[in-house]
């Protein structure tokens, strides 16, 4: 285990041990690991389980339940396309198609050069200026298919 666990992760898991009498919180630790590493390597499951006094099955169960806890590293830039109903009504599907054709990947995939990961998101609460596309945390509203090329070029 020590051979692959980076020291920072080791430290995190030591700090994440619940205090005497306090309940463990697997999801909280998973979030912390995700924030630290950008994803959760399934090989870290035993160490996470140990830190929380939980079983590996408990940890794997929580990890697989939450859609945005990734078990693989994402690309350098994360593109999230909102597929909420207001975005759908405002033709976000055409925006998705434009991004897919520009990058040559499908939803849920990362470009071979590791630059972009394309993810669907079910609603970002930007319904009044839809469709919405979030890139690395920056939200763009009223996105048209013709905007896609310029938008992505800003991140190259």
């Amino acid at each position: 285990m020590e051979t692959f666990l980076p020291n920072a992760l080791d430290d995190l898991l030591i700090r994440a041990r619940p205090a005497q009498g306090a309940p463990p919180n697997i999801l909280r630790v998973l979030h912390a690991v995700h924030d630290l590493c950008g994803y959760i390597d399934p090989r870290a499951i035993p160490a996470i389980a140990h830190s929380q006094g939980a079983t590996e099955a408990n940890v794997a169960g929580v990890l697989s339940y939450y859609p945005s806890l990734n078990t693989q590293p994402a690309g350098r830039h994360r593109i999230q396309v909102c597929l909420g109903e207001s975005c759908l009504a405002n033709r976000c599907v055409r925006v998705v198609e434009a991004i897919q054709s520009k990058l040559g990947i499908e939803l849920g995939q990362t470009t071979p050069d590791g630059q972009f990961t394309l993810e669907p998101v079910s609603c970002v609460g930007n319904c009044a200026v839809s469709p919405g596309v979030r890139i690395d945390g920056e939200l763009n509203g009223r996105v048209r298919p013709s905007d896609v090329a310029g938008l992505l070029d800003r991140y190259r």
Binding site: S86, N90, A128
Partner: protein
């Protein structure tokens, strides 16, 4: 050279519409003092720049960086008070939106903030609950349960600890009013939590904020720091910590269901708990817990400050106060609308939405998020209130209204909505877990042109089972949009059947 004070919204949607670009362009200028406010919610006009005048605020709508000379000269602005979308509203929970800086406690106080909490501090817990009872406030998250009843149960259940949890997992697509409160008026949510905590005797509060709202979480944290420094977060010498748990649901929709939310808050899979017991009796870590959505808490301070009778004087018989609606989709004027309950859906779409976007014709309106029923043009005269919607087998939910135009493929929309439920089902109960998957498969069979009448009958039958036997609202409501699409647009399904 004197600086001209300009007001520009800092709301995520305003920024997405271009406000951030304006801020970047003008930040360094010596002739501009830029004040970042909350948004008025008239998003169709964003980015909108305002400045003071003898007629109150003047607004420049759809502003670009090149408009600055005009704005500085005072040319071409329109009085905000003359914008019908705003002037026709009855703003209470959203009264200060667009006016104040979200993190200014001073501004919050200047516009009447803290008055409710000050009053509550002088009242007994039971008197606070009595005031909420008088107000006839019902939860704004979707279930519309009388707020005072929950509070009374939590207050009278004996326990060593009690909790207050703000459900900030605003997952219903088409809704954004909670996000606006958290980003634009975070002290109001905190004040609501404090009043509730005093009424039930809670010792800690949590705000369960969804991952998709990073700005809201940051605003809340900053607001909690400011409130703590101002001495708010203690009562009779006892500290009352409020923790923002951000990113909590990690993309899971069902974590907005109160018992799944509590499971998730405890760090487990966000799986729904069977009720009873209700969270007010046994919630977080088995202790009495009030879980209410953000808007509900944000409605509380005004009720305490102005009295329950004031709140009860607005709205309809069963739905008192104001409805906060969020208009989106293919309308001309999408945005946030706060009006007394009782206007019809058509009035809202006409008076505020101003009809359809250019070239579009109305096909269907979905109210209440992805589990909400679809309405056709002929059904729009329904009054916006909990009871009329319940009678129509529909839900007002969290107030999201999404308008679809004539180009919408209702079969594909149905498949999308059912696939969403199949993805989001927590898996605890069979009707939802299996039912949503089978329903999605049937809709895909129709899309492939391989379905028969028997498949559509099975879809209806599955829907009835899910409605009757699901453990929570996700499975129980999932069939409604799909079956209402099938009912109102049968041709779109039947034309694609196997002949």
């Amino acid at each position: 050279m004197s600086r001209v004070r300009l007001y520009l919204s800092n709301d995520t949607s305003s920024c997405a519409a271009g406000a951030e670009r304006l801020a970047e362009a003008w930040r360094q200028r010596s002739d501009v003092e830029l004040v970042r406010t909350s948004s008025r919610g008239a998003f169709f006009l964003e980015p909108m720049v305002e400045r003071d005048s003898s007629d109150g605020r003047l607004a420049w709508c759809h502003a670009t960086a090149d408009d600055l000379p005009k704005i500085l000269a005072g040319d071409g602005g329109i009085p905000v008070s003359s914008i019908p979308f705003l002037s026709k509203q009855t703003r209470h929970a959203f009264a200060t939106f667009g006016v104040t800086e979200p993190l200014s406690l001073e501004a919050y106080r200047a516009y009447g903030g803290c008055a409710g909490f000050r009053k509550a501090r002088q009242m007994s817990p039971s008197a606070i609950i009595e005031e909420i009872k008088t107000s006839r406030l019902r939860g704004r998250g979707g279930a519309a349960f009388p707020v005072w009843k929950k509070w009374e149960v939590a207050a009278t259940t004996a326990a060593d600890r009690k909790y207050v949890v703000a459900n900030a997992d605003e997952g219903d697509a088409g809704t954004y009013c909670d996000r606006m409160v958290m980003e634009g008026d975070p002290f109001r949510l905190i004040e609501g939590l404090l009043i509730c905590a005093r009424a039930i005797g809670a010792e800690a509060g949590y705000i369960y904020c969804r991952q998709e709202y990073p700005v809201a979480a940051a605003c809340l944290r900053a607001a909690i720091r400011a409130a703590s420094e101002a001495g708010w977060l203690e009562s009779d010498g006892q500290p009352f910590p409020i923790e923002v748990v951000s990113g909590a649901g990690a993309g899971s929709y069902v974590c907005g269901e109160e018992t799944a939310l509590l499971e998730s808050l405890e760090g487990r899979r966000g799986v729904v708990r069977a009720r009873p017991p209700h969270p007010a009796q046994s919630g977080l870590y088995g202790r009495p817990t009030i879980v209410s959505n953000v808007l509900t808490f944000a409605t509380i301070p005004n009720i305490l400050a102005r009295g329950g009778a004031w709140h009860a004087s607005m709205g309809t018989e069963g739905s008192r106060g104001t409805a906060v609606l969020q208009l989106g989709g293919r309308v001309k004027q999408p945005g946030l609308i706060e009006v007394p309950f009782g206007l019809t859906l058509r009035q809202v779409l006409d008076q505020f939405g101003q009809g359809m976007a250019d070239g579009a014709r109305l096909k269907a309106v979905q109210v209440g998020g992805p589990l909400g029923s679809l309405f056709t043009d002929a059904q729009l005269d329904i009054p916006i209130c909990f009871d009329a919607f319940a009678k129509a087998d529909a839900i007002l939910g969290h107030g999201g209204i999404v308008v679809f135009d004539n180009e919408t493929d209702m079969l594909e929309l149905s498949r999308h909505l059912m696939a969403f439920v199949a993805d989001e089902s927590c898996g605890k109960c069979v009707p939802c877990r299996i039912g949503s998957l089978r329903a999605r498969e049937i809709l895909e069979t129709v899309q492939r042109g391989q379905a028969t009448e028997a498949d559509l009958s099975l879809l209806t039958e599955l829907g009835d089972t899910m409605k009757a036997a699901s453990l929570c609202g996700l499975g129980a409501r999932a069939p409604y949009p799909v079956l209402s699409a099938l009912e109102h647009f049968p041709v779109e399904f039947r034309n694609r059947m196997r002949s």
